[in-house]
């Protein structure tokens, strides 16, 4: 179920596929009947809003990872005039 949800939350194409053909979208995920039933009852508006949120956050994090720098070292060195500890 989490694998299905992870796909749903992060892949707009898969989300569209699910919204248009939910039963088809279940095919590769080994979901139980109960899990499929709960997905069919999902609040679609909430799902779309949540998915947008996840995708935005994901993009921010991937951008941030590219810029990551050792700010703690830079700032501590500057403020405490540390050379090496």
């Amino acid at each position: 179920m989490e694998t299905f949800l992870a796909q749903l939350y992060t892949d707009q194409n898969f989300l569209r596929f699910f919204l248009n053909s939910p039963l088809e979208s279940f095919k590769d995920f080994e979901l139980t009947a109960k899990e499929q039933e709960s997905l069919l009852k999902i609040n679609k508006e909430d799902l779309i809003i949540a998915s947008k949120g996840f995708i935005n956050k994901r993009e921010k994090i991937l951008r941030y990872k590219k810029k990551k720098q050792s700010w703690i070292k830079k700032n501590l060195k500057k403020l405490f005039k540390l050379e090496d500890i």
Partner: protein
Amino acid sequence: MPRFGIGWRREIADSILRNLDEFDVIEIIIDDYLDASRKELDYLKFLNSQVPVIFHGIQLGLASSLEVETSRLKKYKKVIDYTKITDWSEHLAFVRGREVEIHHLAQPPMNASTLVGLKKNLNKAKKIIGSLPKMENPASLIFPPGSDWNEIDWIQKILEETEIDLLLDLHNLYVNSENFQFDPYEYIFKINLQRINTIHIAGGILREKKLIDTHLHNVPDKVFQFLEFIGGKENKIKNVILERDGNFPHINELIQEIKKAKEHYHKARTFTKKRGDGNIPRATLH
């Protein structure tokens, strides 16, 4: 008496360090240091010698029927052991499927299968790292499909069946209670307050009729009210941490928010002492 502090973010690192006296504790995202050099970890150790540091994890995904990766736990252990910063937390969330990284915290299906997975993952974490994390309640915009329980029952079962202490994020509680229509005070009433180790406070916004936990806005009054309510009861809270991830105001504004949190917490405790019992009727706070 809890320590009041702030979540470390690189954009305000300079300001935090210049005002270190204003913070009793600093919370650092451990995932930012999993591949750090020894020298960088030495700087963390140095910071911990100036002010208590606690770690906050975001990438383990412990609340999942999928097994947590051993390699990730070993990386956490390496950083925790080297820095000797042993106080750590994570989330009651999943962050990946089999081959898909969400890169964010998702509330898992609140059911028996997730609970079994969580227990296994916590045991594995304890075995590898040597200690259990405090576990945070995540915010969500969608009621997790596949859930058999509501959030109040879910957190109660977790506290009954595991040994974890909670990191209670009051803004996440506020967001979920509004988005999924449950009583946040019932949630607080039903959990054992002795099991809350840390509290997070943060802000968000209302968008498309949903409350969103953005961490980009000031802490709303409702969150301070929750803090005051909890402050008035017997508890073992060790830390209250302000989280802000962006849209940063001047550091003095963040310091004022922390001071406001202290005032609300202590106001209730003063009232309790005067009244001589450990309970404040909910009605008197509203």
